[in-house]
Every structure is written in C-alpha cells, then in structure tokens.
C-alpha cells in the first residue's frame, strides 16, 4: 500500500487491543507498526521472570503502566523447589523505578518480594494503584504498611493465597490508611458498591457477625465471599440474605459440614465459582448440581489429605453429578480417593466444553477401583471429547497409553501436570511431539529419561517451561541439551552437590528448562547448575 494511516490513527486503533496475542501479532506486520505498537503498549505480562530482562522490556516498551509477572515454577507450591532458588522481584522494581515513573499496577505470582522492594514501590510510583501478590514470600507487615501509607486514591491490595496474619486483606476505594478492625467496619459501612470482601483469620470471630450484617445490609451487590477460616454454623444465617447475588464462594478453609454447608451453597443460585472442602460430600454436590445451574468452576479440596482412610463420603460420584447437572461447568479441581474409567468417560461426555480438568486421586498410582485397570481410557475420553481442553492434571495408575491419547487428541492443551505415571520415554515422546499448543509441562516421579527429551529438544523452544523432578534424565543429557540449545536455560537443581562429581549417566534430581532471551541468570544459588554451551558446568 502506497499510503498508510497516520500514526495517531493507528495508535487509536491499537488502543482497542487488550490481548497480548493481538498486540504481538500487530507488531509483526511491519516495522512501522512494530514501532507504533511498542510505544502504546501499556500492559505487559511476563510468564517467566527469567525469560527476559528488565532492560529488554524497558527498551522495547517505554510507556508501560501495568506489569504482571510470574516467578517460580508451579511445583514450588508443593515444596518441590528448594528455598533460595530465585525469582527475586527487586531488580525489576529497581529498573522500573527509573524507567516507569507512571507505573500504576504490579501483579506478581510466586516471586520473592522483600520489604525493601515494597518500600521502593511506594516511593517510586506516584500513580500507583494496584498491588497483587499471589503466593509470594519474603515480605512483612512493615513492607505492606509502607505501601498503604504512601499509596492513596484507588489502591487495592490483595494478598490472595497466603496463610498470613495480616489484619485486612482487602482495601476499599477509600483511604487505605492504617489497618484496624474499626477502620474496616467504617469502610464497609461506606461502601455500597462493595464487590469483593476477603477476610482472613485475624478478624476476630466475635465481631464477624456485626461486620457481615453491616456489609450485607449496605452492600447489595456483594458478589464474592472468601476467607472463612473458622466459620461456625451460628454465623451462617447472617449470610443468607446475600446468597442470591453471590457468584464466587470460597469455603476451602471452612470446616463447616453438612447440612449447614449444603444449605448455604444451595441458596447461592447465581454461583459461578465454588471452592469447598470435601465435607460437602457426594450428597452435597448433588444438591449443588440441582441448585446452581450457572456453575462454571468447582474446586474440592481434601480436609484430611494425609489420613490413611477416607474421612468423608466423597467419591467420584460427586463430580459425576455436578458434570450432569451444571451445563456451564468448564473448570474442575477435584481431590478424591477413588476413581473409575466409567466415571471419567461419563464426565467427558457430559461436558465436552471443559477447559481445565485437574484430578488428584490421593493415593499415587491408584487404579480404577472397579476394574483395577489403569485410568488410561478415562483420561483418554477426557482429551478426546473435550476438544477445548487447555489444562490437564492427571493422577492414578497410568501407562504410556494415556500419553498416546493425549498426543493424538489434546491439540489445544497448554498445560499438563503428570505425576507417578507412564512406563517409558515413549510416553513423554507422545506428549512432546503431539501436543501442538503445549506451553507448560511439569512432571514428577515418572520413568522418563533422556531419549524423548533430546529427540524433542526443538519443541522446548516453543514452550514456556519444562519441569522434571525425580525422573531418569541423566546429567549428560542435560549438558548436551544446554550445549545444543543456546536459547534455552537448562537448570539442574541438585542438592547432592555438583553433578560432575557423579557419573554422567547419573540422573539429576530436578530439571527446569525454559526459553529465554536474557541468557543465563546471575542469581543462581549453590544447588542450581546451568548447563551451558561455554563450559560444560558452571557455578553461579
């Protein structure tokens, strides 16, 4: 085309693009579009903080207003990543304090955030509005206080996912000054538009009913409730008045049981998201299926995960009921103690639009409890029927066959979590060669070795990351991968000492491979070894 739109027009058009994928696509059209787009990108999402450096981000996008970033691998949630591994946010804050004075928003997940970083945030960004720390560590109430003290206006601080002793989890669009219970009460009373109320353990129980009464009488639009560490049935009637509007309910720390639990849940007719403990049992889930037709996401957590015997009457049947009764169900996380292929096939056929399916059968390698066969057929049905499936976590007894099904059918699968499964490298090969959309693969305790990994080395550059722990990948293979693939960081995590003090064929404890344009990182602790092209083995 001989003539093109003036820059301002293009910029205006681009301002309607919020999705990163769209903006990335736009950048690839031509050099001038690349230039225009990069100057007007306001939100940046970095899925792996080590995939890129602050300097590179700042150089390309000079006018960022919101940063979202993730650090440690997902399995860090389950204590599989040793402490001190990394994911420090401070270098980012330091760089951004100079480059992005107008920054408004920082969202971090699984990163180490120190009080120093929080203080720097509070000092550096005049327009700061939103801080979200999800599963982060390394800070104290002092750091939070400095944020609260310095950030006025529409500040919202949310600390989802932490077992903490902070007094208040949610700060409302009013002042976020000193946090105290009376302040919380006053704020609640003034917020008719309150949408989300997150409380935690430290709110004194005896004051809770009054607070809730105030909240509920004033806040007609209450949509989400979470917290409830110690909810006791006596408090529940306070909530019934608002149940009809509730769309999101998190009772996953609440030890209330049937019938109170079921009564509460069944009153929330608009419920879209429910997180609950297995105290709800099969009967409760049946009631849920009958009452909550808008349900999209269900998470059932185990109340007694380490007990040898089941303590509640929750089986695969509960999940089957919900899959039958809730036509919009698309996201499931379910902990149980028994499962059958028949149930999985039923669920798959009931809900072909399933997007996230995470099943954890508590006993590793538990077979179909009816037939004692592996659960290959069941999970195979899931991936075959649910063509939009983006996330899958499997458990139970599984052979290489299930991976063949996954490789053949799960074409939109982006994240796969595998534990105690498979027989040989063929399983891993099926996944790496078949799953076209795969971005994150995390594996623990599977008999996968070098062959599948090395044969599919190129695939790893198309993914965000690969985690393999307690598998059979040898040190030699890791070295080879690191040498041949310069755009991957191949990290060997091994707390037994330097890998080269053991034979090359010795398996490594943990392997974390991720693509990066930032090269090797400079903050590796003593138990992490980078497999480089320069030297075979280097210390940090």
């Amino acid at each position: 085309m001989a003539y093109s739109f003036p820059e301002e027009v293009l910029e205006h058009v681009f301002s309607f693009l919020s999705s990163d994928r769209d903006r990335n696509a736009v950048s690839l059209v031509c050099k001038s579009w690349y230039e225009i787009e990069r100057w007007c990108r306001r939100r940046v999402f970095i899925g792996n903080c080590y995939a890129v450096s602050p300097e590179i981000v700042i150089r390309r996008f000079p006018e960022v207003r919101a940063l979202e970033m993730k650090g440690k691998p997902h399995f860090a949630d389950f204590n599989l990543v040793p402490e001190g591994w990394g994911a420090y946010v401070h270098p980012w804050i330091r760089s951004m304090s100079a480059a992005y004075p107008l920054l408004e928003e920082i969202k971090l997940k699984r990163m180490v955030v120190t009080d120093e970083s929080l203080e720097l945030i509070a000092r550096s960004f005049k327009n700061f509005k939103v801080l979200v720390l999800s599963s982060c560590e390394g800070f104290t109430t002092d750091g939070l206080a400095s944020i609260a003290a310095n950030c006025s206006g529409n500040a919202e601080g949310r600390l989802g996912g932490l077992a903490s002793e902070v007094k208040v989890c949610s700060v409302f669009p009013a002042e976020c000054s000193e946090v105290s219970f009376s302040a919380l009460e006053r704020l609640v009373a003034r917020c008719p538009n309150l949408r989300t109320l997150r409380l935690n353990r430290a709110v004194p129980l005896e004051k809770l009913p009054n607070l809730l009464h105030q909240a509920f009488s004033v806040c007609k639009q209450l949509k989400g409730l979470s917290g409830f560490w110690d909810v006791v049935p006596a408090f529940l009637p306070a909530m019934y008045s608002v149940c009809s509007g509730i769309t999101s309910l998190n009772l996953s720390y609440a030890t209330i049981q049937s019938p109170d639990l079921v009564k509460l849940v069944s009153q929330c007719r608009s419920l879209q998201r429910l997180w609950v403990l297995d105290y709800i049992e099969d009967s409760g889930l049946e009631t849920l299926a009958a009452s909550c037709k808008d349900l999209q996401e269900l998470r059932v957590f185990p109340s007694d995960p380490f007990g040898a015997e089941p303590n509640v009457a929750l089986t695969e049947q509960g999940l089957v009921s919900v899959s039958e009764g809730c036509p919009k169900l698309q996201s499931v996380l379910y902990f149980c103690r028994q499962m059958s292929n028949a149930a999985l096939v039923t669920i798959a056929r009931n809900r072909p639009e399933m997007i996230r399916f995470r099943l954890c059968i508590i006993e590793p390698q538990a077979p179909d409890y009816l037939t004692l066969e592996p659960l290959d057929t069941g999970f195979g049905a899931i991936v075959e029927n649910c063509k939009e499936l983006r996330r899958l976590s499997m458990s139970g007894l599984l052979t290489d066959k299930v991976f063949e099904y996954i490789g053949n059918h799960a074409k939109k699968l982006e994240m796969l979590s595998i534990a105690f499964a498979g027989d040989s490298d063929l399983g891993l090969h099926h996944v790496l060669s078949g799953c076209e959309s795969l971005r994150k693969l995390e594996i623990r305790d599977c008999p996968f070795g070098d062959k599948a990994l090395l044969a599919n080395a190129a695939k790893l550059e198309t993914m965000r990351s690969l985690w393999m722990s307690s598998c059979s990948v040898s040190f030699g293979a890791c070295k080879l991968l690191g040498q041949k693939m310069p755009r991957l960081n191949v990290e060997v995590i091994d707390e037994r000492g330097p890998p080269d003090s053991r034979p090359e064929s010795c398996p490594v404890e943990k392997l974390y491979v991720y693509r990066t344009v930032a090269g090797r990182r400079a903050d590796m602790p003593g138990f992490v070894w980078m497999m480089d092209g320069d030297k075979a083995l280097t210390f940090s």
Partner: protein, 299 residues
C-alpha cells in the same frame, strides 16, 4: 514427631534424604550379590530388567550406548524413531525404577568434601536478621503460618506410609485444616464432625530414647542426639553448640586456610533459638516442612 534437625542459614544446602531408603541397602546385599552376574548383561541393554523386584545394580544406571547423536540434525539430538521401532516398550513399573534411582543416588553420595567448599556468599547476618524480623514482624511465606499446635493426636492419626514430598499437591496452608480445627468442631457444632474424624489412633509407643540426626549447613558430617536426654529447648541448644563447635572451627580452618587463634577450640555457637546468632535451629517435620524450633512445648 521430628524426622531430623538441621541447623541452617540462608542459601545453605538442605539435605532431605529419606532415611528409610538408605536402610534398605544392607538388607538386600546378599540378594544383590547372587543376582548381579546374571542381571548385569540384561541391565546393560535394557536399562531396567522387567519384573525383577528391587534390582540392585549399584553402578550407574542403564547402558547408554544404543542410541547415537546425529550431528546433522540440530533439532533432533537423537535418531529417535529407530530406537523405538526396534526396542519394545519396557513395562517397568515406576516403583522399581524410582527405587533404583534413589538407591543409586544414595550409593553415589560424594564423600565428605572438606577439600573444596566454594566460599558461600556471606548472608548469615542477613539470614539471622531475617529470621528474627520474621518472627517479630509476622512474615509472610507460603509455609503454614497456622502453627495451630500439631497435637499428638494428629501425628498419630497418620497410619499411612511416610508421605511423599509434595504429595498430594496441595499448598502448605491447606494441610492442617481438619486436624487444626477438629477440636473446635467437637465443642461448637452439635451435628458433629466427631463421628467423621478419620481412623483409629495407633496405640501409644514411647521408647526410652529418641535419637534424631542433626546436620549443620556447610558441615558434611552430622551428629545424633537423644532428645529424651534433654528436658528443654535451651539444653538442646547447648548440646548442639558443644557438638558442633569443634566441627565448625575445623571447617573454617580448612576453608580459610588460617589457623584459629584459640588453637581449634572454636567459638561458641550461640543464639540458636532466638535468631540472634549466626545459625538457627530448625527442624523438618514429617510433612517435609521446615519449622523453627521452639514453637511447640517441649513435651
């Protein structure tokens, strides 16, 4: 119940050996010796032989020379299809492989390397301060802050085998929900959970000694102490100081290359319990979580 105690500071190494796996090696030595000859040939070709229980080849795992690296294709570092068309899939149950893996790695533990410990960045002060401030300022971390006293009943409820690290995959703060609140439920809710609380508790077992391992960061050799010989945390801290003082001195001599002024007697290792010293006492509970010593009453 405590699995073992570790003296740790930031960036140190944490040993997480499962003592049970190491115990298996001596028992099976006779079987191993008898079978080794006939198994050796098989293992070299197949890696792990099928259907053999606890195949113990204490050398490096499976032969590796039946696949070749093709230098032409950069992407595929392996001529993969050939391998799979000729070799049938091995149906080795995971347990045996993982056992093999663990046994081999256990057998290959490097000898205590006093010769070359690269100088660790000195962050001990920072760590001690961090721990101290962590206690005082109510630090945040994904580890459970709800140290609702893990009472003895919850520990004994566990008749299941030793839990695997990170399994089931739930976050730390979800682990103690039932056990942490069960006492409240019993008293406040008439439709009680009391009936639903899980399984029979095993009978009380109280031996006369309770030896636990203590490892100190940077020191390759550990010590064992009998917890029943002490009646308070302070006495334990003193004992730890005495046991390790000499070792620390010896270690720093070797590392720094200079002779200690007081002739190797070593400095007092103080402040173990309150976070004020260079080292702090932590222990690892049977869920694999690191806990600060001192929260639970000594009994």
């Amino acid at each position: 119940m405590w699995a073992f105690i570790v003296l740790s500071f930031k960036n140190g190494r944490y040993s997480r050996k499962d003592p049970q796996l190491l115990d298996l090696i001596p028992k099976d030595r006779e079987r191993f010796a008898a079978k080794r000859a006939e198994e050796e040939e098989e293992t070299r070709h197949h890696g792990f032989s099928e259907e053999k229980k606890l195949e113990l080849s204490l050398g490096p795992p499976g032969g590796g020379d039946y696949w070749t690296i093709t230098k032409t294709s950069h992407e595929s570092l392996l001529s993969f299809p050939t391998y799979f068309s000729t070799n049938p899939c091995l149906k080795s149950p995971w347990q045996h492989q993982a056992f093999l893996h663990h046994l081999q790695s256990a057998a290959q533990l490097p000898p205590p390397a006093m010769k070359e410990s690269p100088p660790q960045p000195c962050t001990t002060r920072a760590a001690a301060v961090e721990l101290q401030s962590a206690e005082k300022k109510k630090a945040f971390s994904p580890a459970p802050a709800n140290t609702a006293v893990p009472n003895s009943s919850s520990a004994q409820k566990r008749t299941a085998p030793a839990p695997v690290v990170g399994w089931p995959p739930i976050r730390s703060f979800r682990k103690n929900i039932a056990t942490g609140s069960s006492s409240k439920l019993a008293s406040e809710s008439p439709n009680a959970a009391a009936d639903k609380v899980s399984g029979p508790k095993p009978a009380e077992y109280s031996p006369r000694t309770l030896f636990v391992k203590i490892n100190m960061d940077g020191i390759p050799i550990g010590r064992k102490v009998d917890l029943k010989a002490y009646n308070s945390y302070e006495k334990l801290a003193c004992a730890v100081d005495e046991l390790f003082r000499g070792l620390v001195a010896a270690q720093s001599e070797v590392c720094a290359g200079i002779k200690d002024d007081d002739g190797g007697k070593g400095k007092v290792i103080g402040g173990l319990l309150d976070g004020s010293g260079e080292y702090t006492l932590v222990y690892e509970d049977n869920e694999g979580d690191r806990m600060l010593v001192g929260d639970v009453p000594w009994q």
